[in-house]
């Protein structure tokens, strides 16, 4: 887990993720920022510029890393996100963007952005962990869960009905749409899926399957 930007959000993310047992590196241009982490922070810190390739390599970036670009500058966050994704093949990348108009544009270069006015640590964590089998809500009286997943290339080009999953909402390029069974899924779509544990597991398997097909 690589976090760039040790402000309020970044430091909070770092603390939370290390507490949950994740391997965390937090990067900031300014060493003084790491004071926010507190004395009991057990992750790593690295001083430097988050879109510098050598620094990211020193941070241990691989294509299986998760990168959260949460500096105070929209532009830095976009650069970090693109370098992580395009240079290092990282799939799990989130960039915090203050300006919602800009966010929609950057979604088009394939960056998952978090641009709500009230972005929080929780929101960012959900975005990044959406790939890792998490669930957002469970109906107490039944076994239905609501989960958010990013559509991978394996499901791109398939209609919703062909997946057999109950996708109730699609988030594409910053706009939410109520899909039809015939709606064709695309890489990068944020899909809200309703289903039982087994159904969600089936869907996660589909997302992870290597068969790209068309």
């Amino acid at each position: 887990m690589i976090i760039v930007g040790c402000g309020r959000v970044g430091s909070s993310l770092a603390r939370q993720l290390t507490a949950e047992g994740h391997d965390v590196v937090i990067i900031d241009r300014n060493t003084a920022a790491f004071r926010r982490l507190g004395d009991d922070y057990s992750g790593r810190t690295l001083t430097g510029i988050g879109f510098d390739r050598e620094l990211l390599i020193a941070a241990g970036i691989t294509k299986d890393s998760a990168v959260m670009a949460v500096t105070s500058g929209d532009n830095s966050n976009i650069l970090i996100a693109r370098v992580a994704r395009e240079m290092f093949g990282v799939q799990q990348v989130v960039a915090r963007i203050y300006d919602p108009r800009r966010a929609a544009i950057y979604e088009r270069v394939g960056i998952s952005t978090v641009a709500t006015v009230a972005w929080t640590t929780k929101r960012i964590l959900r975005a990044i962990l959406a790939q890792q089998g998490s669930v957002d809500w469970t109906d107490p009286s039944s076994c239905y869960h609501l989960a958010e997943r990013r559509i991978t290339p394996s499901l791109a080009g398939h209609s919703i009905e062909s997946t057999g999953a109950n996708i109730i909402l699609i988030n594409r390029s910053g706009t939410a749409q109520l899909p039809m069974p015939s709606t064709v899924l695309q890489e990068g779509d944020g899909a809200h899926v309703l289903g039982t544990t087994e159904q969600l597991e089936d869907f996660d398997r589909l997302l992870a399957s290597k068969q790209g097909g068309h």
Partner: protein, 208 residues
């Protein structure tokens, strides 16, 4: 840049986010319009006429801003030619079609590149005129018979209105500290004011 370009009849819009900079820059030039705003915002770019612009030049002192402006210009406005300034050479690798940049200009790099251009060894070449032609940046590659070889920078017999600003040796820039010893093949960059070329030649090339 805007004043220069307007001499060719181009109409220019300058965008800057700093209110002080904008109010400081008044120009009676009808071809130049200054707009206060963030160039990374679609609305500002639209106000500056990006929809019809032939060229967008992103020349702030911030590489991230320059890259984002370039991407927006190319992606949202289909600007035919995007020029961007590189402030830190370590970022130069990003200034290309990945961010919509057609032409990048890196001042630190420019000097090195100009010098790498096959420059005749042993003769004084004027690279740039500065300060309305009153100062010149000159370059000479030290040939075997140069009297400067073996001398330290401090001991070079250079004319008064001149200074060694850089030495390029084996592709690296060497800062001309006074005790640096000059070697054959060194490319020596000298900034000089006034008419001192003859003297520079005697010091670095040899007697005519």
């Amino acid at each position: 840049m805007a004043e220069e370009l307007s001499k060719f009849g181009h109409s220019i819009f300058i965008v800057d986010n700093d209110p002080k900079a904008v109010s400081r820059t008044t120009t009676g030039n009808p071809l130049v319009t200054i707009i206060l705003g963030d160039g990374c915002e679609i609305d500002t770019l639209t106000k500056a006429g990006a929809n019809d612009a032939d060229v967008v030049a992103a020349v702030t002192g911030d590489d991230e801003d320059n890259l984002v402006v370039s991407l927006l210009a190319k992606q949202e406005f289909a600007v035919p030619r995007v020029v961007a300034r590189v402030n830190y050479p370590s970022n130069e690798w990003m200034f290309n079609s990945m961010w919509g940049v057609d032409v990048s200009v890196s001042t630190p790099h420019l000097l090195t590149a100009l010098v790498e251009e096959a420059v005749a060894i042993g003769s004084l070449v004027k690279l740039l005129s500065l300060d309305h032609g009153k100062a010149g940046l000159n370059e000479v590659t030290l040939a075997p018979q140069s009297p400067a070889i073996g001398s330290t920078v401090a001991n070079l017999k250079l004319p008064r209105e001149s200074a060694v600003v850089a030495i390029i040796r084996d592709g690296h820039v060497v800062v001309p500290a006074p005790d640096i010893v000059l070697l054959e093949g060194d490319e020596v960059l000298v900034l000089a004011t006034g008419d001192v070329e003859a003297e520079l030649g005697r010091a670095l090339i040899g007697p005519k």
